[in-house]
C-alpha cells in the first residue's frame, strides 16, 4: 500500500460507477424547468440563405423559441480560432455560431428551436422554411487551392487559410541535387471521423438574478471552455462554471468549443431557463470535427548506400469551412516539426497549405498531425529500402538517431528528450521472430500466397508543452497544469487537478502517483477533476499530456507536502530537520527508526495545529503549477503481418506486435489499454475508415452504417511489449501513451500490405485499403481490365 503501487496494474477506481450504469454523462442530466434545443443545419454544402420563415415552427406544439442569426448577431461573438499560427498569413474566416447569409458546409447551423421536449424541438425543425440559393462547392484541399475553385469566404483569396513552412538543417536543394537516390510518393491521408461513442452535448443553465452561467459539457478541457465562453458570451469567468461530467471519449473531437455550444448557452441566457442540446449520431457526423484530410507530395533523398540526406514535402491540408478552435496547429506544428522521425535527417523542408473547403471543420484527431508525419516518413523509408533492394530494417538502422539520454537536436528545431530507437526495433524483431516471418513469407510466395510484413518506427511529440513555446507558436493559452493535494485530518487525501481525463483512467494513476510519493494507499486518495469551480486551472486533456504534465504537477505538489511534513515531524520528534529521513509514508530520525511519525500522524497534527513548529502554517496542503521545460518524446517500433487475397483484394491482419516506450509506467494495465485502443484506431485508418463527400459536399458516410468503425471481429490479439527510457526532464520520467498506437499503426499496416503486394507490382494504394481498392490496384499493376 505504498511506493510499490506506482507501477502496479491495479484495477481502476473509475470502473464501479461505469459498470453499474451509475455514471452521469452530460445527456443523463436533467434540471427542473429544462428545455431542449435542436439545431437546424444546412442541407447544402454552399448556399446563400435567401430567406428564413420560422413562424410555423414558432407556433408548433411545445416550442418556446426559434432563433436565427438575426437574433444572435451582435449578441454572441463568432466561434473563436485559438491557435494563431504565426508567420503563415493566417486568414481566419468569421465562424458565426448561426450562419449569416451564407452556409458553407452541410451541418452549418441555420436556426435553433427550443421546446419542451427533444422530440418537439426536432419536429419543429421540419417546419422552418429556408430558401437557399445554392452555390458551387469544393471538397478536396488540393482542388480548393486550384485556380477557378469556388471561393468560400469573399475576404480570403484562394481559400487559403495559411501557408506554413518548416525549413531546417542544410540546404534542401543541394541535398536533393547531390543525392544518389530520390524516392517520391503522393499520399492521401483521408478524412477520418472521430466517433467518440458519446455524442456531444451541452446543458446550459443561466441564472438571471446573479448573472451566473453553469455549463455541463462533453469536453476534454472544461477550463478552456470557460475561457472561450467568457469571451464569446460576455459572461465573466467568475460567473461561469463549466462541468465536464463523465465524458465518453473524445479523441480530439471534444477539444473545440462549438457553435452549437455557444448557441445553447445563448438560448439559456435569453430564456432564463436551463437548455440542453444533445446531438444525435447523424448530427455528430456533420457537426463534430473530423480529422486528417491531407494530400501529401513527399520525397526523400539518399546516398546509394541508404543514408538519408534530405526530406521534402508539400501538404495540402483540408481545414473544412471554418477554422476550429485548435485546427491551424495540427497539420503544422504537430506535423511538420516531427518530420525527422526517429532518423538523423540533415535537411528538411515542408510547405503546408491550409485550405478552406465546403466540409465539416477539421480538428485534432488522436495523434493530431503526428500520424500524418509518421506515415510520410515511414512510407519514404520503405520506398527507399525497396529502391535500394534492402530490408526495411537495415535502412532504418542505417539512419536511426543513436541512443541518447539527455537531449538530441533534430533539423526541424526540436530537442528530443531521450530515446533508444534501435533498442525498440531490436526488441520488436526478437518478439515478432522477424527472420522466421521473412522465411514464412518467402515460402508463401512460392505457393502464390501474399504475406506482407510492415514496420513503423516512430517518435511522437507530446506532453504539450512549455507555455513559452505555446506563446511562440501562437497557441492562445498556456500549456502548464496545476494540482492541489489536500490532506484531511484522517490522513485521507483529495487531489484536485485542472486536466480532465475522459476514459484514460487518471483517477487511478494519479492516486498511484500520490501513493508512490507519500506512502498512502491509493484507496485513500480521491481525484477530483472536470469542474472549474472546484479544480485549479488546467489546459486540458489532449496531446497525451495529462499524465506527462498534470502528473508532474501532482508529483511536485506531493513533494512539497513531504517537505512540510518533514519539518512538522522533526518538531514533534524533537529532532533537527536535517536529521530526518523518510521512507514509505513514515518520517523518522536517522538511525532511530522507532522514533517516527506517519504521514497520517502529521496530517492530523497539521490540521488541528495544536503543536506546530514556529512559523509553519496549519494544514497539510500544496498547490503546484507545473510548466514543463520541454515536450516529451515517446517512441517505439511496431510490426504488422498481413495476408492479402489477390483474388478478392481482402486484407487479413494476422499479427500485430508493438514495442512502445513511454518511460516508467505508473499502471501498466492502463498503458496496455491505451496501446490497444490507439493501435486499432490507426488500423481503422489503414484498412477501413474514411469520411467520404461527394463532389457537391454531401457527406456519404454520415452514419455508423456507412462509416466503417473497427469492430471486434477482424482484429488479431495485439502483442504488446515495452522498453523503459525515462524522460530526463520529467519529475517522474514519464512520457505520454494516449496517442502512440495510432501514430504508429497506420504506417505499419500500410507498409505490410504494400510488402505483400510487391510480387504483383503494386507500389501504392490509396487508403483505406478496402478490398475493392486493393483488387483494382492489383488489376492495374497486372495490366488487367
Amino acid at each position: 500500500m505504498s511506493a510499490s503501487t506506482f507501477g502496479s496494474g491495479i484495477r481502476r477506481r473509475e470502473d464501479p460507477r461505469l459498470i453499474t450504469g451509475m455514471a452521469t454523462y452530460t445527456d443523463d442530466i436533467g434540471l427542473p424547468g429544462m428545455l431542449h434545443a435542436a439545431m437546424l443545419r444546412s442541407p447544402f454544402a454552399h448556399a446563400r440563405i435567401a430567406s428564413i420563415d420560422t413562424s410555423e415552427a414558432a407556433a408548433a406544439a411545445g416550442v418556446e423559441a426559434v432563433y436565427t442569426a438575426a437574433d444572435t448577431d451582435g449578441q454572441i461573438g463568432a466561434a473563436p480560432c485559438a491557435w494563431l499560427l504565426p508567420e503563415s498569413g493566417l486568414a481566419i474566416a468569421d465562424y458565426h455560431c448561426i450562419a449569416k447569409d451564407t452556409v458553407r458546409y452541410v451541418g452549418d447551423i441555420v436556426a435553433v428551436v427550443v421546446a419542451g421536449t427533444r422530440q418537439q424541438a426536432c419536429d419543429a425543425l421540419d417546419l422552418i422554411d429556408v430558401d437557399y440559393d445554392t452555390l458551387d462547392a469544393v471538397v478536396g484541399p488540393k482542388q480548393s487551392a486550384a485556380p477557378g475553385a469556388p471561393q468560400l469566404h469573399s475576404e480570403i483569396e484562394g481559400n487559403q487559410a495559411f501557408h506554413w513552412t518548416v525549413t531546417g538543417g542544410g540546404d534542401i536543394e543541394e541535398a536533393f541535387a547531390g543525392a544518389d537516390v530520390v524516392v517520391k510518393e503522393t499520399i492521401v491521408q483521408q478524412r477520418l471521423i472521430p466517433n467518440a461513442m458519446e455524442p456531444r452535448a451541452m446543458l446550459a443553465s443561466y441564472t438571471a438574478p446573479t448573472g451566473e452561467l453553469t455549463l455541463w459539457n462533453t469536453t476534454q478541457n472544461p477550463h478552456i471552455v470557460r475561457f472561450l465562453m467568457s469571451l464569446v458570451m460576455g459572461v465573466p469567468e467568475d460567473k461561469l462554471r463549466v462541468i465536464a461530467p463523465e465524458v465518453g471519449g473524445g479523441f480530439g473531437s471534444k477539444i473545440a468549443v462549438y457553435p452549437g455550444d455557444f448557441v445553447t448557452a445563448f438560448c439559456s441566457k435569453k430564456l432564463g431557463v436551463p437548455v440542453k442540446w444533445a446531438e444525435s449520431r447523424s448530427e455528430n457526423y456533420l457537426a463534430t470535427t473530423h480529422g486528417r484530410d491531407h494530400v501529401q507530395e513527399i520525397e526523400l533523398a539518399a546516398t546509394s548506400d541508404g543514408k538519408i540526406v534530405g526530406l521534402r514535402a508539400t501538404v495540402w491540408a483540408g481545414m473544412g469551412a471554418y477554422l476550429s478552435t485548435a485546427a491551424p496547429g495540427i497539420p503544422t506544428i504537430l506535423h511538420g516539426l516531427m518530420l525527422s522521425g526517429v532518423y538523423d535527417i540533415p535537411a528538411i523542408h515542408e510547405d503546408v497549405y491550409g485550405l478552406y473547403t465546403n466540409t465539416t471543420p477539421v480538428e485534432a484527431y488522436r495523434g493530431a498531425g503526428r500520424p500524418e508525419a509518421t506515415f510520410m516518413v515511414e512510407r519514404l523509408v520503405d520506398l527507399l529500402a525497396a529502391k535500394l533492394g534492402q530490408d526495411p530494417v537495415d535502412v532504418r538502422r542505417r539512419n536511426f538517431i543513436p541512443k541518447f539520454d539527455d537531449g538530441h537536436d533534430v533539423a526541424t528545431g526540436l530537442t528530443y528528450d531521450s530515446g533508444n530507437y534501435d533498442g525498440a526495433l531490436t526488441k520488436l524483431l526478437d518478439k515478432a521472430g522477424y527472420d522466421a516471418l521473412r522465411s514464412e513469407q518467402a515460402e508463401a510466395r512460392k505457393e502464390g500466397r501474399h504475406i506482407g510484413l510492415g514496420l513503423s518506427t516512430y517518435v511522437e511529440i507530446c506532453g504539450l508543452g512549455p507555455s513559452q513555446v505555446a506563446g511562440a507558436i501562437g497557441f492562445q493559452g498556456g500549456l502548464w497544469e496545476s494540482a492541489i493535494v489536500r490532506f484531511h485530518p484522517s490522513g485521507k487525501v483529495n487531489v484536485m487537478i485542472g486536466a480532465s481525463p475522459h476514459g484514460q483512467g487518471e483517477e487511478t494513476t494519479f492516486a498511484q502517483i500520490i501513493a508512490g510519493e507519500l506512502g498512502v494507499s491509493p484507496d485513500d486518495v480521491k481525484v477530483i477533476h472536470g469542474d472549474t469551480d472546484n479544480t485549479p486551472m488546467g489546459w486540458g486533456t489532449y496531446g497525451s499530456r495529462t499524465t506527462a504534465v498534470g502528473g508532474a504537477a501532482l508529483a511536485l505538489a506531493a513533494r512539497k507536502i513531504r517537505d512540510k511534513a518533514t519539518i512538522i515531524a522533526a518538531h514533534l520528534l524533537e529532532a533537527a530537520v536535517e536529521d530526518m529521513d523518510y521512507e514509505d509514508g513514515t518520517f523518522f530520525v536517522k538511525g532511530s527508526p522507532d522514533s517516527s511519525k506517519t504521514i497520517q500522524d502529521i496530517a492530523l497534527m497539521a490540521n488541528v495545529a495544536w503543536n506546530m513548529p514556529e512559523g509553519v502554517e496549519a494544514g497539510l496542503e500544496a498547490t503546484t503549477f507545473y510548466d514543463p521545460p520541454n515536450f516529451v518524446f515517446p517512441y517505439g517500433a511496431h510490426l504488422a503481418k498481413v495476408e492479402v487475397d489477390a483474388e478478392t483484394g481482402s486484407v487479413t491482419l494476422q499479427r500485430y506486435v508493438a514495442v512502445d516506450d513511454c518511460g516508467p509506467q505508473i499502471n501498466p494495465v492502463i498503458v496496455e489499454g491505451q496501446v490497444h485502443g490507439g493501435i486499432v484506431q490507426g488500423i481503422g485508418q489503414a484498412l477501413w475508415e474514411e469520411g467520404v463527400y461527394d463532389e457537391d459536399g454531401q457527406l456519404l458516410t454520415g452514419t455508423m452504417l456507412d462509416y466503417a468503425i473497427p469492430r471486434a471481429d477482424g482484429l488479431p490479439d495485439i502483442e504488446v511489449h515495452s522498453t523503459v527510457t525515462p524522460s530526463p526532464h520529467h519529475p517522474l520520467g514519464v512520457k505520454g501513451i494516449g496517442e502512440a498506437g495510432t501514430i504508429a499503426s497506420t504506417a505499419a499496416v500500410y507498409n505490410a500490405v504494400i510488402d505483400a503486394l510487391k510480387p504483383l507490382g503494386v507500389g501504392s494504394v490509396r487508403m483505406p485499403l478496402t478490398p475493392e481498392r486493393v483488387w483494382r490496384s492489383i488489376q492495374d499493376a497486372q495490366g488487367g481490365n
Binding site: 461513442m197 471486434a712 471481429d713
Partner: protein, 159 residues
C-alpha cells in the same frame, strides 16, 4: 395520442402513457430515468442501448416502447444481484474491459447474451458475438479477455 404501457423494469412494474412513436430506449432513459442505458447512434449499429428484453438481448432503439408492453426488461442497473456485481461486471473491471465507459452497459448486456447462447466461447466466437457493439476506446482486446474470464467464472458455479 398516448398509449398505456406496463413494463417490468429490473423487477419493478411501471405503467405509463406514452407516445406511440416512443422508442424503448427513451422510455427507459427519459420516462423512467434509468440513464445507465446509452444512446450512441440513431441507426441501430452501435449497441450502446442493449438491454435484456424478457431475458434476451435487444437493442432498445430498435423497439418501440409499446412493443415492450407486458415485457420484463433488465438494464445495466438491474444486473448486479443482492450478493454483488454480476460476473461480467467483475470481469470487465478486472480485465480493464472499459475506458470511457459509454459503450460498457450495452457491451456487458450483449456479452450476457453471448454467454447465454454460448457459455464457453472461443475468442473468435466472442469477437463475432460482439461485432454489433462498437467500442472506440479499448480496441476490444480487453473486452474479449473480460468475457473469457466471466465465462470461466460462470461455468464455475457463478451466476
Amino acid at each position: 395520442m398516448r398509449v398505456p404501457v406496463t413494463i417490468t423494469m429490473n423487477g419493478r412494474e411501471y405503467s405509463r402513457d406514452v407516445e406511440p412513436r416512443l422508442l424503448l430506449v427513451h422510455l427507459i432513459r427519459d420516462v423512467l430515468g434509468l440513464t445507465g442505458t446509452k444512446v450512441g447512434c440513431d441507426t441501430s449499429q452501435c449497441g450502446s442501448c442493449t438491454v435484456l428484453l424478457d431475458g434476451v438481448a435487444a437493442k432498445s432503439c430498435t423497439c418501440l416502447a409499446v412493443q415492450a408492453d407486458g415485457a420484463s426488461v433488465t438494464t445495466i442497473e438491474g444486473l448486479a444481484g443482492e450478493d454483488g456485481l454480476h460476473p461480467l461486471q467483475e470481469s470487465f473491471w478486472n480485465k480493464h474491459g472499459l475506458q470511457c465507459g459509454f459503450c460498457t452497459p450495452g457491451m456487458i448486456m450483449a456479452s450476457h447474451e453471448l454467454l447465454r447462447c454460448t457459455p464457453n466461447p472461443s475468442d473468435e466466437e466472442i469477437r463475432h458475438g460482439l461485432e454489433g457493439n462498437f467500442c472506440r476506446c479499448t480496441g476490444y482486446q480487453n473486452i474479449v479477455r473480460s468475457v473469457r474470464e466471466a465465462a470461466g467464472e460462470m461455468a464455475g458455479g457463478g451466476q
